[in-house]
Amino acid sequence: MLSRLAESFFWMGRYLERCEATSRLLLEHHQLTVQQHSVNERDAVTFLTDLLVLSPSSLNVEELIAQVYGEESNASTILGSLSATRNNARTIRDAIPGDLYEALNSAYFAGLAENPNPRLPGTVLRSQIQRLAVINGVLEWIAPRDQSFDFLQLGRSLERLDLTARLVAAGYENIWPDQGPATMLRSVDALSTFVRGQIPLTGKRVKGFLIGDRIFPRSIYFCAQTAETSLRRLKERDDSLYREIALLRSELEFSDPNASESAQLRIAARATSVAANTSARISSEFFRPAGSIIWSN
């Protein structure tokens, strides 16, 4: 397939995931800040901008909502990642199913039209998440499982892995001991999956779950495994491409479930860099080189 297509599929997957994950994070962070007043508002706000690597410019929750919902030009925000998803889809419109483009387009226009009320963001964020689910549903139903799907899957799982790692490293449980652990789980909608396996709900257990759970699709382990599978399908013989992510996967597979919290933080930091390195390798292996026109004879 065309490198340009591959690249757009990859980034479409990443941004789609980012948009959904950021919406959930914001939704649950808002719930938390409304209900819990044990830390001052500015600190509670900066906590999320730090997690999302946005500038710490918001002074209160209302500004935070506006900042994270964001603008089209900043791909780390909800609107920015939504717009970037659609932009990538536009360049490969010929190669994606019509229903998919339609679902994406309606999510995009609804997202633009629905600026959330900064004091009352819940409704808008929830419908945002639902629209993104429609896109994912169309993909699941009708997207052909060829290389294009592997690239999309790859982008999606690396982005997921990266976000879960950041969530683990964020320190919710230290700052909100009461509701922090549950908020981490709700931020990836994993609360009921978690409690099926274990109680009580402590920060350490929650982090252990987010890192190593075998069946939850957003755990670092699961994402690493999915990314590895896609990479092997794309280029089985070149193991330098997937060596790093496979090592992370196998380390998690055999790691100590009772690892200390500092070990958990180290894994999270490592996962983030594995995601970045793998992304860079994929880029140099499959995608167009930077500066798209090559002069040569």
Binding site: Q36, N40, G171
Partner: protein, 521 residues
């Protein structure tokens, strides 16, 4: 009738602590409140936070104004509830055992034995960790003088706790403004406490008990709650047909064959539980389960036969029960109650019916209730006859004008409506834990004193405030044992990646546009 106590405006003053809450809400204006009401209704129905009434699923409406209880008052409620549960546990152990309280004449034997819920089938069943009342809901009301009183005990299958948890999230979603700077105690960990108590009740020798919830099925009014608790505790929600007894043990049918069940949190009534012992035509229960419980191989929570302790005719004796077993004065007083089996009392009640509430002993959910002041002469005449014919079947209480709380009406106006409170307690055998909050039910019809959701009542989020404390200044470094390490980790977390700027490359965009100029539409 004496005027009701108001939770926000006690004795015609205003509770200044609560003023910011009301101001923030009233600032929305009635149009704003109507809009928020719609957001709430949509949220409740899409989330499926419902109860089923006459076969129809409907949302249990939560009012936009919470009910607030301060830390000091909560500590009284909490210790009062604990005291009551301790005494009622002792009472149940006694009436299904040695009968000392009866033999000493503190409680008339006939009163106990005539109770519909006194089950001889439960005699001699020894609960594993001594607990019969694993979960309870004690209904409290506040009278005209501002005193909290116990209206009734629910020791069988008290429902409503799921709404306590969901109401908090709903309010934060719909009216975040009202939370202001209030430090409200979290209710999130109820499922964890409940699961711990259920596990602690496992039969002797079982270290990794399998716990399940037994529901009558999706048509039951509380099915949402059953599913909610199963999901939040991570345990199976089973119906009678999923279970069977064999060789003195209880099993559930699974894809990998029969799996034992050690603790069953059953949300179906005693008489439907075991067709071999009770209603033979019940298809909701599990034949033989009571024998398994008697053999000590499964713990039923709550225990069979608890209904004798929350029988409305036993209720007037609870203060005596507390004194008898604990040697303590009741922390939470009862509402004055007339025992109609005493002829003089019956006579007195019949003469003053217009100031009384007459309740069926066996009833629940507000069915069959007659409220004197709002009843017609015909109704009063009828009930007068009914209680004379069956004095054991009814109790009478003077009408208590329940306290009121400002409530948002459907037209966006705010007006006082009568409320009650159901705190929930969980007993794990070592400690009784009272959920800091509870279900506040509100009678939405003006002047109505009937708060039951089956009678058109709604609910309120119930806030228990933290004892006053300073905010924690957030210093991330102090949270980690090793500040250097935190610093180092923070440095290694890179910015988020982004892809090539597909459409925002200005030069590329301009050239692409120019290309098209020749053939514009």
């Amino acid at each position: 009738m004496k005027s009701a106590f108001d939770e926000f405006f006690p004795f015609d003053t205003v509770d200044t602590n609560l003023l910011p809450l009301l101001t923030n809400l009233l600032n929305l204006g009635s149009a704003g409140l109507i809009e928020r009401g719609k957001i709430r209704d949509t949220y409740l129905s899409t989330q499926g936070i419902t109860f089923t009434l006459s076969g129809k699923e409907r949302p249990l409406s939560v009012d936009l104004i919470p009910r607030v209880i301060n830390a000091h008052e909560w500590s009284t409620i909490s210790s009062g509830v604990k005291q009551r549960i301790r005494a009622l546990e002792a009472f149940l152990a006694d009436v299904y055992g040695a009968h000392t309280i009866i033999n000493e004449g503190i409680i008339p034997r006939q009163l106990v034995t005539s109770s519909e819920h006194f089950l001889r089938e439960a005699h001699g069943i020894q609960p594993a960790n001594g607990v019969r009342i694993h979960v309870s809901g004690i209904d409290l009301i506040r009278d005209e003088a501002g005193t909290l009183r116990v209206l009734e005990d629910n020791l069988r299958c008290p429902s409503g706790v799921s709404y306590v948890l969901e109401n908090r999230r709903t309010l934060a979603h719909v009216v975040p403004e009202v939370f202001g700077n209030f430090q409200v105690r979290s209710v999130e960990d109820y499922p964890e406490h409940l699961l711990q108590a259920l596990r602690a009740a496992a039969p002797d020798g079982i270290t990794e008990p399998i716990v399940a919830i037994l529901t009558p099925g999706i048509h039951n009014s509380a099915h949402f709650e059953h599913a909610f608790l199963a999901r939040r505790m991570g345990i199976e929600l089973v119906e009678g047909r999923d279970l069977f007894c064999k060789g003195g043990f209880l099993y559930m049918r699974t894809t990998s064959g029969p799996q034992p069940v050690h603790v069953l949190y059953r949300r179906i009534d005693d008489e439907y539980l075991d067709p071999m012992q009770f209603k033979p035509d019940s298809i909701l229960g599990v034949p033989g389960i009571l024998n398994v419980a008697r053999a000590g191989n499964v713990t039923l929570a709550n225990a069979v036969g608890n209904g004798v302790a929350d029988d409305k005719a036993i209720y007037p004796y609870v203060p005596r029960i507390i004194k008898y077993y604990l040697g303590e004065e009741p922390i939470l007083p009862n509402v004055e109650t007339y025992d109609l089996q005493i002829p003089d009392v019956l006579n007195h009640v019949q003469k003053n019916l217009a100031e009384m509430v007459i309740k069926p002993v066996a009833g629940s959910g507000g069915y069959g209730l007659v409220i004197g002041p709002s009843a017609t002469a015909e109704q009063l005449k009828e009930i007068s006859q009914v209680i004379a014919e069956n004095p054991r079947g009814w109790i009478a209480q003077p009408v208590v004008n329940l306290s009121t709380c400002p409530t948002v009406l459907s037209d966006g106006e705010v007006a006082p409506r009568h409320i009650d409170l159901r705190p929930f307690a969980v007993n794990d055998g070592k400690e009784i834990w009272v959920l800091p909050g509870g279900l506040t039910r509100v009678a939405l019809v003006e002047g109505s004193l009937v708060v039951n959701s089956s009678q058109g009542g709604g609910s309120k989020d119930t806030w228990v405030l933290q004892p006053k404390s300073e905010k924690v200044a957030l210093a991330k470094e102090t949270k980690n044992e090793n500040p250097d390490e935190t610093h180092e980790l923070a440095l290694t977390i890179p910015a988020r990646e982004s892809g090539p700027e597909v459409l925002t490359n200005r030069r590329l965009q301009q050239q692409e546009e120019q290309q098209q100029q020749g053939g514009e539409l």
